[in-house]
C-alpha cells in the first residue's frame, strides 16, 4: 500500500465508527467502545506509519507525501482536494494520534464502562453514583467524529479541506460540550462555544475567498511554497495600508482567534468545561485549539510575506504578536484567581496558546510548532489528570454523602496519598506547564519562544511573556498545592480514591511524552548538554518552510529569565499553598482585595460582551428586525395599502355605485311606480265610463281629422 493512500485512509476509520455507532451499534455499549477505540487504534497505527515514512524521507519539505483528486468544479477551474504530509503536518499528526488515542482509552474508564446503569440517571445528565453514562455510546460516536475532523484537518492539502475539518470539529465541540445537555449551564456553554468560534470562522471564510481570488488556488504547496505568489501578494495593496497577504493573513488569523480562544474571543473556552473531562482534553489539548495554531503555522509564509528575519515586523505580525502576548498574560492573571480545577487549566490553555500565537507573531515558527507539540502532551495530561481527580472526588462525595462541588479545589487537599498515580502524573504535567528546567518538555519549548522573542528584538513581547510565565508557574503550584498537598478539606476528599487502570494508563503514556518530547528540541549551543542530543525538531521542521528560518543563537538572558520565573513562580506558589487548612481561605483574596474579585470574575468580560453584543443583537433580532421593520413598517405599509384599498372601495361604493348607478336604476323604477299611482284613478272599473271616454276621444279624433286637419 502506497503511503499516499495510507494518508487518505488515516481520517476514515473514526468516521466509519461514527456512522456505524449512530446507525446501529449504539444499542450495545461494548460494540460501540470496540468500534470507536478500534478505529482510533487503526488511525493511530496508520498515523505512526506515515509519520515514520515522513521522518525517513529526505527533504520532506520539498518532496512532501501528497496526492489529490479534482473535487469541486468552480466555473472554468476545478478545485482539487487532496492530502499532504510535510514536516508540519507530520509532527502534528504524531501528537494528534497519540493524544486522541489516549483520550479514547481514558474515556472508557471515565464514563464508567462495565458498571451497571443507575436507574436514577437520566440521559443528558452526568451519572450520580458511578453508573455507566446513559448516553455512553453516543459519546464515543461524537469523539470519533471529532477525531475524524481533526485528522482531516491535519492531512488536508488545501485550505478548503482544512476548513471542512475545522468546522466538523466545531460541530463536535458543540455537541460534546453539550453532552450533558440536560444542564442549563451546558446548554448555554455549547451555544456560546459555537457562536464565538463562528465569529472567527466567518472571517476565515472571507479569507479563503480572498485567497482563492488572489491566487486562483487554495492548495498549500502552490501558495505557500511559491515565493513568486507570496511576493506578489505581499506587494499587492489591499486597504488601510495592508498588503493583500496581510489582509488575508489577518482574516485567517481571525479564525485562529476564535478557534484557539485568543483575546477577544476567549470567552467560550472556560465555559466549555461543562463537557465531560475527556472532551475538555480533546478540545483544549489534542485537537481543536491546536487547530487554530496549526492554521497560522501552516500559513506562516503568507502571514510573514514581505518580512525577513531581523527586519521590523509587518503590521499583520505586530497584530498577531500583540494579541498573542496580551492573551498569554491576560489569561494567566485570571487563572490565578479560579478555584475550579478545570477552569484553571482552561485559562492556562488560553495563556499557553497566546504564547504560540505570539511566537508566530515574532516570526519564531519552529518555537511555536515545538510548543504546540509539547503543550498538547502536557495539557492533555493535565486535563485527564484533573478528570481523574474529579472522578475520585465524585466517588468520595458519593461514599461520604458530602455533596460538595467535586471540581472546587478548595474542597480538595491531601489527594497525593489517596491518588498517588494521579498525583505523580499531574505533577509531571504541572512542572512541564511551568517550564521546570531541563527535565520537562515545557521548559525547552517555552525557553525557545522566550529566546526567539529576545533574539528578535521584541523586548515588550519578551517581557510580557516572561511575566506570564511567572504567573503560570505560580498558578500551577497553587493548583497542585490546593489539590494534592496539605490535608483533605472535605469529607469527599477524604474518601476519594484512585481511578481505574484504564484511566491511569493514558496518564502514564502522556507523562512520558511530557518529559521526553522536549529532548528532541534542545538547541545545539545550549551550555553543557547542547549537542549531546541532536536538535531534531529544528532540523525537521525547518523543512516546512522554503526560506529556512535563521537560527537564533543561544544567549543567557532568556535562559536566566525562564529559570527565574519558572522556579520563582513554583517556589512562591509552593510556599503559599502547600498547606491550606480545612475551612481555610485563599490568601490571595486577602492580598489582592478587589483586584481578586475582578480576576475571579474574568475581568467581567462575559458581562461586558453580554451588554455590548449579545443583548443588542437580541434586541436587533427580536425588536428591530422582526417587531419593528417586518411587523410594523413593512407589514404596516402592506396593511395600510390594504386598508386604503378597502377605504377606496368603500368610497367608490358610497360616492358612485350607490348614488349614481343604483340611484338611476331606482329612479326609473320609482318614477314608473309613481306615474302608475297618478294614473290609476282613471282605472275606475266602470265599463261605461271607459266607453264614454272612448267615445269622447273618438269624437275628438274625428273632429280633428275632419275639421282641423283639412
Amino acid at each position: 500500500m502506497s503511503t499516499e493512500l495510507l494518508v487518505w485512509l488515516i481520517p476514515l476509520p473514526p468516521l466509519l465508527a461514527f456512522g456505524l455507532i449512530i446507525l446501529r451499534a449504539h444499542r450495545s455499549n461494548r460494540v460501540s467502545t470496540g468500534l470507536a477505540v478500534g478505529a482510533m487504534v487503526l488511525s493511530w497505527a496508520m498515523g505512526l506509519v506515515v509519520f515514520g515514512q515522513a521522518v525517513a524521507t529526505e527533504h520532506l519539505g520539498d518532496h512532501p507525501i501528497a496526492s489529490s483528486i479534482p473535487w469541486l468544479p468552480l466555473g472554468p477551474d476545478v478545485l482539487e482536494m487532496g492530502v499532504l504530509i510535510d514536516p508540519l503536518s507530520a509532527i502534528t499528526l504524531f501528537f494528534v494520534v497519540w493524544t486522541c488515542l489516549a483520550i479514547f482509552v481514558y474515556s472508557i474508564g471515565y464514563h464508567n464502562f462495565g458498571k451497571a446503569r443507575d436507574a436514577h440517571d437520566k440521559p443528558g445528565l452526568p451519572p450520580h453514583a458511578g453508573g455507566i453514562d446513559p448516553l455512553y455510546a453516543r459519546f464515543f460516536a461524537f469523539i470519533s467524529l471529532f477525531a475524524f475532523g481533526m485528522l482531516t484537518l491535519v492531512v488536508a492539502d488545501n485550505l478548503l479541506l482544512l476548513f471542512i475539518g475545522w468546522e466538523i470539529m466545531g460541530l463536535c465541540s458543540y455537541l460534546l460540550i453539550g453532552f450533558w445537555f440536560g444542564k442549563d449551564s451546558a446548554k448555554k456553554a455549547m451555544v456560546k462555544a459555537f457562536m464565538t468560534t463562528r465569529v472567527g470562522d466567518v472571517f476565515m471564510l472571507l479569507g479563503i475567498a480572498a485567497l482563492y481570488i488572489s491566487t486562483g488556488t487554495l492548495s498549500f504547496s502552490e501558495i505557500l511554497r511559491n515565493p513568486e505568489t507570496l511576493h506578489h501578494l505581499a506587494e499587492t495593496p489591499a486597504f488601510l495600508g495592508l498588503s493583500m497577504a496581510g489582509l488575508i493573513g489577518l482574516l485567517l488569523f481571525a479564525g485562529t482567534v476564535g478557534k484557539s480562544a485568543q483575546f477577544p474571543l476567549h470567552v467560550w473556552l472556560p465555559d466549555a468545561m461543562e463537557g465531560p473531562t475527556p472532551v475538555s482534553a480533546m478540545i483544549h489539548a489534542a485537537t481543536m485549539v491546536s487547530a487554530g495554531i496549526y492554521l497560522i503555522l501552516r500559513f506562516f509564509p503568507l502571514l510573514s510575506a514581505g518580512w525577513h528575519p531581523g527586519e521590523p515586523l509587518t503590521t499583520t505580525m505586530v497584530v498577531i504578536a500583540a494579541i498573542g502576548a496580551f492573551t498569554a498574560l491576560f489569561a494567566s492573571t485570571i487563572a490565578v484567581a479560579q478555584n475550579d480545577i478545570k477552569r484553571v487549566l482552561a485559562y492556562s490553555t488560553i495563556s499557553q496558546l497566546g504564547y504560540m500565537v505570539a511566537a508566530v507573531g515574532v516570526g519564531a515558527f519552529i518555537a511555536a510548532a515545538f510548543h504546540l507539540v509539547t503543550h498538547a502532551f502536557f495539557k492533555a495530561l493535565l486535563f485527564l489528570g484533573s478528570g481523574s481527580v474529579i472522578h475520585g472526588m465524585e466517588h468520595g462525595a458519593h461514599a461520604s454523602h458530602d455533596h460538595v462541588d467535586p471540581q472546587d479545589m478548595m474542597n480538595m487537599g491531601g489527594l497525593r496519598r489517596k491518588m498517588p498515580w494521579t498525583f505523580w502524573t499531574f505533577l509531571i504535567g504541572g512542572l512541564a506547564l511551568s517550564g521546570f528546567p531541563l527535565i520537562t518538555a515545557g521548559f525547552w519549548s517555552k525557553d525557545e519562544i522566550l529566546a526567539s522573542a529576545y533574539g528578535g528584538n521584541q523586548p515588550v513581547v519578551f517581557g510580557v511573556l516572561a511575566l506570564a510565565a511567572l504567573l503560570t508557574a505560580f498558578y500551577t503550584a497553587r493548583q497542585i498545592g490546593l489539590t494534592f498537598l496539605g490535608e483533605p478539606r472535605s469529607d469527599a476528599a477524604e474518601h476519594a480514591h484512585e481511578s481505574s487502570r484504564v484511566m491511569l494508563a493514558p496518564l502514564v503514556v502522556l507523562s512520558i511524552f511530557s518529559i521526553a518530547a522536549g529532548w528532541a528540541g534542545i538547541k545545539g549551543d545550549f551550555p553543557f548538554i547542547g549537542g549531546s542530543i541532536p536538535n531534531w525538531v529544528e532540523e525537521f521542521l525547518a523543512g516546512a518552510l522554503v526560506e529556512h528560518p535563521a537560527e537564533i543563537g543561544f544567549t543567557f538572558p532568556p535562559l536566566l529569565t525562564s529559570l527565574v520565573v519558572a522556579l520563582g513562580g513554583l517556589g512562591i506558589g509552593w510556599l503559599v499553598y502547600r498547606r491550606i487548612p480545612r475551612g481555610g481561605t485563599d490568601p490571595l483574596v486577602r492580598w489582592l482585595g478587589p483586584v481578586h474579585r475582578i480576576l475571579r470574575n474574568k475581568y467581567y468580560f462575559d458581562e461586558l460582551y453580554g451588554f455590548l453584543f449579545v443583548r443588542p443583537a437580541y434586541w436587533f433580532a427580536e425588536t428591530f428586525t422582526y417587531a419593528w421593520v417586518d411587523r410594523r413598517v413593512i407589514d404596516g405599509i402592506l396593511h395600510a395599502v390594504g386598508r386604503a384599498s378597502l377605504r377606496l372601495g368603500g368610497w367608490l361604493r358610497r360616492a358612485i355605485d350607490v348614488p349614481v348607478v343604483n340611484g338611476f336604476g331606482d329612479w326609473v323604477g320609482e318614477s314608473t311606480k309613481s306615474a302608475g299611482r297618478t294614473f290609476r284613478v282613471i282605472q275606475s272599473g266602470r265599463v261605461q265610463a271607459y266607453l264614454a271616454a272612448a267615445l269622447l276621444f273618438t269624437g275628438l279624433l274625428l273632429s280633428f281629422l275632419l275639421l282641423v286637419r283639412p
Binding site: 290609476r680 282605472q683 275606475s684 272599473g685 266602470r686 265599463v687 261605461q688 266607453l691 267615445l695
Partner: protein, 102 residues
C-alpha cells in the same frame, strides 16, 4: 226612390239609442242589447251604402254578414259571461263588477 240620407238618419238614430243603452243603462243585459243596436245601425249603413254607391260588388253585404257573425258570437260570449257573473255575485249591474279596479 227613397234618398240615402233617410237610411243614414235611421241608422244614426238607432246608433244613438244603442249608445244610450250602453252608456246609460246599468244592467249588463241592457248594455249588451245596446251594443246589438249599435252594430245593427252600422249594418244598415253598410247595406245602404252598398245599394246606393256600388251595387255591382258585394263587399258591403259581406261586411254585414261578418258583423252578424261577430254580433252573434259576441252576444253568446257576453251572455255567458253575464250568467257566470250572476252566478258568482248575484248581480248583473255593471258597476258592481269591479274586481279589476285598483
Amino acid at each position: 226612390m227613397i234618398p240615402l240620407s233617410w237610411y243614414l238618419i235611421l241608422a244614426a238614430a238607432l246608433f244613438c239609442i244603442g249608445m244610450y243603452g250602453v252608456l246609460g243603462r246599468r244592467n249588463a243585459i241592457a248594455i249588451l242589447m245596446g251594443i246589438e243596436l249599435m252594430l245593427n245601425a252600422v249594418n244598415i249603413n253598410l247595406v245602404a251604402f252598398w245599394r246606393y254607391l256600388s251595387p255591382q260588388v258585394i263587399g258591403g253585404q259581406v261586411f254585414t254578414i261578418i258583423v252578424f257573425a261577430v254580433a252573434a258570437s259576441e252576444a253568446a260570449v257576453g251572455l255567458a259571461l253575464i250568467i257566470s257573473i250572476y252566478r258568482q255575485r248575484s248581480t248583473v249591474i255593471a258597476e258592481e263588477v269591479d274586481l279589476m279596479k285598483w
